[in-house]
Amino acid sequence: MRIFIQHRTHYAYGSPAKAVMQLLRLTPRNHDGQTVKSWRIDLNCDGVLKAGEDPFGNLTHTLALNGPISDLEVTVEGEVETEDRHGIVRGACERFPAGLYLRETPLTEADAALKEFAHDVTSEARKDRLEMLHCLLVGIYSAIKFDTTPTNSATAASEAFKLKRGVCQDLTHIFIACARHLGVPARYVGGYMLRTDGVTQQEAGHAWAEADVEGLGWVGFDPANGICPTEGHVRVATGLDYLGAAPIRGTRQGGAEEQMRVAVQINQARSQWQS
């Protein structure tokens, strides 16, 4: 499947910012089942974008702007060719052994409630890791209601779990916290998903988790949809949690009342080359 993606992030500042610096993880890489056909980053102003790679192997761009800046728009756009691999990730850029992904981070710490939940939903399937992870996937999908209101990008897994509400980021953090508690290396994936209901305009990118399974390697689990990633999923960045895979991390100097607006368009590319 060929997927067209356009992701716009617009910042408006109540009073102009003196300087803005951002770290972008907005560029996908190739791996088995995912080939980037075209990709570009655009800015609505003059700025320097410095390409690099973080220690996890994600492609990064550092953006530095000197003000006054009253608004800023970062747009990425491109096409990615995908194949369904049942969520199994091979041929990706791996910089660390799976064992690293047992680290706890502040956003993915499992509190007593999460630990209990992790044990409860997997009690039937403790022996087979893959089965256990599927139980966890379904368990989270049914226990947590998708709701964009109560959480934000700094919400930890335990807080979202207490609310029983959250967005894909929260569900992913909950999945990671539980999996690590159960001794399974797990990581955060930031990316995009082509919706199956025909809706092409989305308010944000997508996020899901990957867990390490003996014999298979990294396998994706999308708890917001209760499925393993399909050919509709496009991986962009991975990390220990949202902070390590965030599409944009930024700081600014001066400039009051930042307002951020995100618009994502994802549709199947009507490609004449498709075989």
Binding site: M21, G52, P55, Q253
Partner: protein, 470 residues
């Protein structure tokens, strides 16, 4: 019986203390008390205070200073100094390795999860070359003695060790308040510490730095408990004392805002924690750091001292492997001893620890400042039971060590001069041109009778440390 550094068991005075013993025999408690009060005034006037975390009032206190110096002979010191140099070399080699080729993991010496799951390990530092291969430029190695022959390392401090201003303040007091006693010894000088630190920092400037490198000391600000020390050291070195907002990064180069415009900074002696260094990479809510500093470091345009991620070498489990580092990286026999350490993550060790709680000191792997530890022999039955539960739930968070009979030194307390337990924190400076250690260090003394906890946050005091030629 623990070693008393002045009075030998046979009743004689140990040689290094000969003159101090004579002096103590001639001064009255009133004279000592007067000097103690003067010393306190010196600290108060100088603003040499510290804030105690967790103290409800959060007020600044003066660390009690004991005016009776702690004496080491040159012979004792030279053995200790050789051991310190070796130890810090091994710590640097370990950090270079885990953030690089990871040979020690391949060799099966350190279990990989102790690296990967260590909260102080920074994956962001992997594959990043530290300028001149140095991570720990300033190391504080806590040393204790239990007998005349051996020095034991109690703890390595590889992050941002503090206390050097107390070491230097103590020396100033000795010279001012006890000039006769001081002059009757040939005391090795330590006043050159700021110069030695400056020379160390200059030597580690990124390769290709033009002319004289510019150095800045990065502080979290006046609310930090060690702010006095930050300003004292910046002053002593003649370098700028800056906060995060005073620095900025452009094109992967760090600049300092000055009245004459931006000035390039080559070396940052940072006294802020890893978490706060760069909000783009570490904690995003940090307002203390400098956005882009990590990128400048990766680009090789600035040296950060100590490097980020050095805490991966100084927790209390990794401590137990440092003698292995000495053998593995340097091919040498460790000069300094380690205190025997049970790793509670190991089920056999845990069983032993639970069975012997009343004899052991149990410490949190990532704790510091004497918080969250159990001194078995001094704890109540309930405290021990409570700790045993914690151990069973999170054994990996704890290590245990025998309760050491730390050496004692004569100390002036309310009822006269009495022996009190001490440790020693020498400061080891590692530059591209070698290791520098000013002779001595900060002696910390547990002022409470029988107490083994010397941490200033737990009622410990300090002493001047004299390395003398006998």
């Amino acid at each position: 019986m623990s070693l008393d550094e002045m009075n030998a068991e046979d009743g004689s005075v140990r040689e290094p203390y000969a003159r101090v013993a004579q002096w103590l025999a001639t001064v009255s408690p009133e004279q000592l008390e007067r000097r103690r009060v003067e010393a306190e005034l010196f600290y108060r006037r100088g603003g040499i205070t510290f804030a105690v975390y967790g103290d409800a009032q959060g007020e600044e206190r003066i660390i009690p200073y004991d005016i009776i110096p702690r004496i080491l002979s040159t012979q004792e010191w030279s053995k200790l100094a050789a051991g310190l140099e070796q130890r810090v070399k091994a710590l640097n080699a370990y950090l270079r390795d885990i953030y690089g080729p990871q040979d020690i993991l391949k060799a099966g010496i350190v279990p990989p999860d102790l690296v990967w799951r260590n909260p102080a390990f920074r994956p962001e530092m992997c594959g990043v070359e530290a300028p001149h291969g140095i991570y720990v430029h300033i190391g504080g190695i806590d040393i204790v003695r239990v007998d005349e022959e051996e020095f034991y390392v109690l703890e390595d401090n590889a992050r941002t060790p503090s206390g050097v201003s107390y070491m230097l303040g103590g020396r100033e007091i000795s010279i001012r308040l006890m000039p006769e006693l001081f002059r009757s010894h040939r005391v090795a000088p330590i006043e050159n510490y700021p110069n030695e630190l400056l020379a160390t920092l200059r030597s580690v400037a990124p390769r290709g730095t033009m002319s004289e490198p510019t150095i800045a000391l990065l502080t979290p600000g006046i609310h930090n408990s060690a702010f006095y020390e930050h300003s004292f050291l910046a002053d002593g070195m003649g370098v700028e004392l800056v906060e995060g907002v005073d620095l900025f990064v452009r094109d992967d180069v760090v600049y300092m805002r000055t009245t004459e415009g931006p000035k390039r900074v080559d070396v940052i002696y940072r006294r802020i924690d890893d978490d706060f260094i760069d909000p783009l990479v570490f904690r995003p809510d940090s307002a203390l750091g400098v956005p882009g500093l990590y990128g400048a470091y990766v680009a090789g345009n600035v040296t950060v001292a100590n490097a980020m991620g050095t805490g991966a070498a100084d927790d209390k489990v990794i401590y137990s492997y440092v003698p292995d580092f000495v053998r593995f990286y340097l091919g040498e026999k460790p000069i300094l001893k380690n205190v025997q350490t049970w790793r509670c993550r190991d089920p056999e060790d845990l069983r032993y620890v639970l069975d012997h709680l009343a004899e052991l000191v149990v410490k949190e792997v990532h704790g510091s400042g004497g918080y969250g530890m159990l001194v078995g022999p001094h704890a109540t039955k309930d405290q021990r039971a409570d700790f045993a539960e914690r151990l069973k739930v999170h054994p990996e968070n704890y290590i245990a060590q025998p309760t050491l009979a730390l050496s004692t030194c004569p100390t002036f307390v309310s009822n006269g001069v009495a022996p009190r337990h001490v440790d020693l924190r020498p400061f080891v400076l590692t530059g591209a041109d070698g290791v520098r250690i000013v002779p001595g260090g900060l002696t910390r003394v547990a002022l409470r009778d029988g107490s083994l906890v010397v941490n200033s946050s737990q009622g410990g005091g300090t002493k001047d440390t004299w390395v003398i030629e006998c």
